[in-house]
């Protein structure tokens, strides 16, 4: 095998120092934990060897092995420069697939997001995270790119928004929600922090209005706007008078928009959201009890995790997850098995692994001298973070039930492959840079 720069020997020399092995180890551990828990989650219904190819654990083993092949290809064979070059093409191609799948796919629980080619099924929405990140990194790493330039900002919004809309069209709300995470990337690259604040406020107002009264929301909004105005004024004490006027105008605008949002909440809730989404939010916010219907999943999932206690019931000794009380337990609810059989310490270990991994990715990315690597790294971190938060949040009743997988742990080839590729593209980018500096 030859090194990237073509000189024999560079492979051996650089491997230890250039590859971020800590990331690779995190990755391997998470994949292994996923595999073991998938086996545990199907253990009672399909008692078979962990390698039995007809069972999910056996299939996952195949996915893992093929993912490893992909990882090695990405790390050692493919020139990392390639990713930047092909990013526009892959983006367009995957976007085309995202739209196509709406029309040709079978209806799976109301969503149209799976391609079926004989025995193989895959979800373009999983790959789209990679291609969107790559194109975003490519565009935003251009030397003259400025977040404050309106045209540039629009281009970025389009790159993120188009696949998001297509995925919404597939009725995969969860996967689309992950794209919101790119806001963090934009923030790192210069987007005003007020946008994150605005988003946070909008969510807060929405929930407040649903749970309490509209006037409480308006009061909170008012206080927030006054605080905003005072803060802006204090920052700009030395500024010109029309800056103050501008600030006042913006504050009033924000207040008006906020009030409209508060009053539109009911409408959005009743008319824009789909039935099942509305019910899930109602259950989450405790507006409605529905132990038999929508609340069932969450309740069972929380019982499974909660019953794990400090140290868990032990491998294959879970009662809730193994007896089929928790639905989707090897895919979206895999964390229940972790919680039940390995207890709080198991959960702690898994979450710390994720946090460490995201932390490493962010620090590596931030250190990078190449804007492309940095931005791509942040994109990867954002996707991992959104998946982690939404998925685990859902299993413990912090988020509404939104079906997205837990990266590297959940059963399923599409998801595992996509995250493997995404992570290893970053490791490869990082490695190549370390070789030169």
């Amino acid at each position: 095998m030859k090194g990237i720069d073509g000189t024999p020997g560079s492979f051996d020399r650089g491997l230890r120092k250039t590859v971020d092995w800590r990331l690779v180890i995190c990755y391997l551990l998470l994949v292994l934990i996923g595999w073991i828990n998938i086996y545990a989650s199907i253990h009672s219904t399909e008692p078979a060897s962990i390698f039995d190819w007809s069972a999910r654990s056996g299939k996952q083993f195949i996915w893992i092995m093929t993912a490893f092949v992909l990882d090695i290809l990405i790390l050692f064979v493919i020139n990392p420069r390639l990713w930047e070059v092909i990013s526009p093409y892959t983006y367009v191609m995957v976007f085309f697939l995202l739209v196509l799948v709406i029309f040709v796919s079978k209806d799976v629980k109301g969503s149209h997001s799976w391609f079926e080619l004989g025995p193989v099924k895959f979800q373009p929405a999983e790959i789209s995270k990679i291609t969107t990140s790559l194109l975003l990194a490519m565009v935003m790493s251009k030397p003259n790119f400025r977040m404050s330039n309106r045209k540039h900002a629009l281009a970025v919004a389009a790159i993120i928004g188009l696949p998001m809309l297509a995925i919404l069209g597939e009725s995969e709300t969860g996967s689309a929600l992950v794209y919101v995470g790119f806001l963090f990337v934009l923030y790192r690259e210069g987007l005003s922090g007020w946008w994150l604040f605005l988003l946070g406020m909008a969510i807060l107002l929405f929930i407040l209005t649903l749970v309490t009264h509209w006037w409480i929301s308006v009061a909170v909004l008012f206080v927030a706007c006054v605080a905003f105005y005072i803060r802006v004024l204090r920052q700009s004490r030395r500024e010109a008078i029309n800056f103050r006027r501008l600030a006042l105008r913006r504050t009033l605008l924000a207040f008006a928009a906020g009030v409209m949002m508060v009053f539109a909440t009911g409408f959005i809730f009743e008319n824009v959201l789909q039935d099942h989404q509305r019910k899930r939010i109602e259950v989450l916010l405790g507006l409605k009890e529905d132990p038999a219907g929508v609340g069932y999943n969450v309740r069972q999932s929380m019982i499974a995790i909660g019953s794990g206690g400090m140290f868990g019931k032990g491998f294959l000794h879970g009662t809730q997850t193994t007896y089929g009380f928790v639905p989707e337990q090897s895919t979206d609810f895999i964390f229940c098995t972790v919680g039940e059989e390995w207890g709080f310490f198991g959960c702690l270990a898994v979450i710390l692994l994720y946090v460490f991994m995201i932390w490493r990715i962010i620090t590596d990315a931030d250190k990078s001298r190449e804007a492309f690597t940095r931005i791509y790294g942040y994109c990867l971190a954002a996707c991992l973070f959104m998946h982690l938060f939404i998925n685990i949040g859902m299993t413990i009743g912090l988020m509404p039930v939104i079906g997205i997988p837990l990266p590297l742990l959940s059963y399923g080839g599409s998801s595992l492959w996509a995250f493997s590729v995404m992570i290893f593209v970053f490791i490869a980018l990082d490695r190549q840079e370390k070789k030169y500096f």
């Binding site: 069972q300 009380f325 979450i351 973070f385 685990i392 413990i396 912090l398």
Partner: protein, 605 residues
């Protein structure tokens, strides 16, 4: 702090929130351990009885009756004597073997679910099974109620219920597999009220699926709420009588109480017998094969040319538009000549005649003049403009659009627009002569029997109608207030007097005056009526009759439409007029028994 560090702080904060909540539910709070280590909940559903449907006089049209189903939880099944079970349930042994093989094959997907094994077993089989049930762990008998029909009345009208399928559940998540839902007719229209609310008892089961005790001592249990009873506007006896009269004929009869818009009877023939309804699944293939489409509810879905009864509408529009005054006389020598050698023919009667006699004798020629004058009205620049005004008037009678009744699957018939003729003949290239058949209710007009009956009710009310409906106000059910509002036509109510007089003369004028409907005369009831014979491109003419009685303060309006039966006076008339007599007097007078006999003994198929 730079932005990287802010984001890292955020990451740690979110992780802390997740871990905090995990710490709470896994270590601090014991509730989940109690729930789980003793276990999980089993929901036993309790099905509420479906609401009963009454007729307007309190007779039960649809009630409930008990039946038994067998369900199975494949996970709980232990090896058992297949033959004994087959004998107890009176099914072939192979059936049981096949089912068990199926359960084995899909055991992963089925999990701990309970499935329906056998439906509608007889009470004898149920008793036999119950005695030996201990030998078949995993199998359970469930009591449920099925629909039962004391009257053979209104099959299509009542509609049927059937078990929900996967597709339906997807769109209606409040239903579960095994639930029943109204698919057609009243059962579908009133589904929300009739179905009631399912209840459940929650039990705890341990990790080996043994049911232990009621969850939280039943605090979270929910009792079933029975479905609400529905009172329909139908008169069961009249409905049944109508069905008998229509036996062997294809067509519809609709009777309406003009003063309320309540539908008294709604017969679509051939229809569905009620004993088929309760077990529709078994008969479905046979119904679907029948070329006369018994499931097709002609009363609200079929679109027929209304024929001569439509002359009433044209006459009234002429009066309203001022292009006709009742005293206008037009000649008719066996029809109306137009476009060179063409002639729209008519039968022999006195000539010339005025509006009243023209209605009574149903003169084609007269109404050609009427319609011509409407379209050639100088008020409007073009024929098309005049035509659109005419159409507006027609729509105000409830034609050409859905009436908005509470009956599902109602269709709107068809009244063409000027744009339609523009498309067919070219803009400005059609005139009265082109569409002359509309004068007499033929051509491109389509009306449902419900709309035709509504015309009868409008005539009875002299200019307005109530939207026909089949559900009455009753305890717990309030009908839409729109059914209590008068719907006025665009024709002034004063113009109706002449038209109603013409309908009276058609029945009571005596054969010598040319009245076309004299055999509908019932002494003492002051019947008003109008015959119609609609040409049918597919065979013999369709026969139409509308009538109401008494002339003053009418109690009932009826429309009958019999397909391929010839002249209106021959078939539709006796059907409608016998219905009317039956409803008003409760019996058929001796002098008219011959009509009833003829109907009951004549079958076209």
């Amino acid at each position: 702090m730079n932005r990287k560090n802010k984001l890292l702080t955020g990451l740690v904060a979110v992780a802390a929130i997740l871990l905090g909540k995990l710490f709470y539910i896994q270590i601090v709070n014991d509730k989940y351990k109690v729930d789980a280590s003793n276990n999980s909940m089993v929901y036993n559903y309790i099905y509420p009885p479906r609401g009963v449907i009454y007729d307007r006089n309190g007779e039960i049209l649809v009630g409930n009756e008990v039946c038994y189903d067998i369900s199975v939880t494949p996970r709980d099944v232990q090896p058992f004597d297949t033959l004994a079970l087959a004998t107890a349930l009176d099914v072939p042994v192979d059936f049981i073997r096949e089912r068990m093989a199926y359960y084995r094959k899909y055991r992963t997907r089925i999990g701990w679910q309970t499935l329906s094994f056998l439906k509608h077993i007889t009470p004898e089989n149920y008793i036999r099974f119950a005695e030996e049930a201990y030998r078949f762990p995993g199998f359970k008998a469930e009591v449920r109620s099925v629909r039962q029909y004391p009257f053979n009345a209104g099959g299509n009208l009542l509609g049927y219920i059937s078990e929900v399928d996967a597709d339906f559940i997807k769109n209606h998540p409040e239903y579960r597999s095994g639930d029943y839902v109204g698919k057609t007719g009243l059962e579908a229209a009133m589904e929300d009220k009739l179905r009631g609310v399912k209840g459940y008892h929650i039990y705890l089961r341990d990790s080996r699926n043994r049911v232990q005790s009621p969850y939280m001592d039943g605090a979270e249990d929910k009792e079933a709420e029975p479905g609400k009873d529905v009172v329909s506007t139908i008169d069961a006896h009249l409905q049944q009588y109508g069905q008998r009269l229509m036996e062997g004929k294809v067509g519809s009869v609709v009777a309406i109480e003009p003063s309320t818009g309540e539908i008294l009877a709604m017969v679509s023939s051939p229809g569905i017998d009620v004993d088929v309804l309760s077990d529709i699944g078994k008969h479905y293939a046979e119904i679907a094969r029948n070329p006369r489409k018994p499931m097709f509810n002609r009363t609200v879905m079929a679109s027929y040319p209304p024929g001569s009864v439509f002359k009433l509408v044209n006459g009234l529009i002429g009066l309203q538009e001022g292009t006709l005054v009742p005293s206008n006389s037009y000649p008719c020598a066996h029809g109306f000549p137009y476009g060179g050698n063409h002639r729209l023919g008519c039968h022999g009667h006195a000539s010339p005649l005025n509006l009243l006699s023209a209605i009574a004798t149903s003169c084609n020629g007269y109404f050609c003049y009427v319609f011509r004058n409407i379209l050639d009205n100088k008020k409007y620049k073009t024929t098309a403009e005049a035509f659109d005004v005419w159409r507006e008037h027609v729509l105000s009678f409830g034609f050409g659009r859905k009436l908005g009744s509470d009956f599902p699957s109602e269709l709107g018939g068809n009244i063409p627009t000027s744009a339609f003729y523009d498309k067919v003949y070219g803009k400005g290239r059609w005139r009265f002569q082109t569409i002359i058949s509309l004068s007499i209710g033929q051509g491109e007009i389509g009306a449902t029997p419900l709309q035709i009956a509504n015309l009868a009710a409008t005539m009875a009310n002299r200019g307005y109608y109530y939207i026909p409906h089949i559900v009455k106000d009753s305890e717990g059910i309030e009908i839409d207030p729109k059914y209590k509002e008068r719907q006025y036509t665009m024709v002034d109510t004063t113009h109706f007097k002449t038209a109603v007089e013409g309908m009276y003369m058609a029945v009571n004028g005596g054969g010598s005056a040319g009245g076309t409907a004299f055999s509908a005369r019932i002494p003492g009831l002051d019947v008003c009526g109008k015959t119609g014979t609609a040409q049918n491109p597919h065979g013999k003419d369709n026969s139409v009759f509308i009538c109401f009685a008494p002339k003053d303060n009418p109690k009932i309006a009826v429309a009958a439409y019999v397909e391929n039966a010839g002249f209106g006076a021959t078939w539709a008339l006796p059907v409608a007029s016998l219905m009317l007599e039956k409803y008003l007097t409760g019996e058929i007078s001796e002098s008219r028994k011959y009509l009833e006999d003829r109907l009951l003994t004549t079958r076209f198929f």
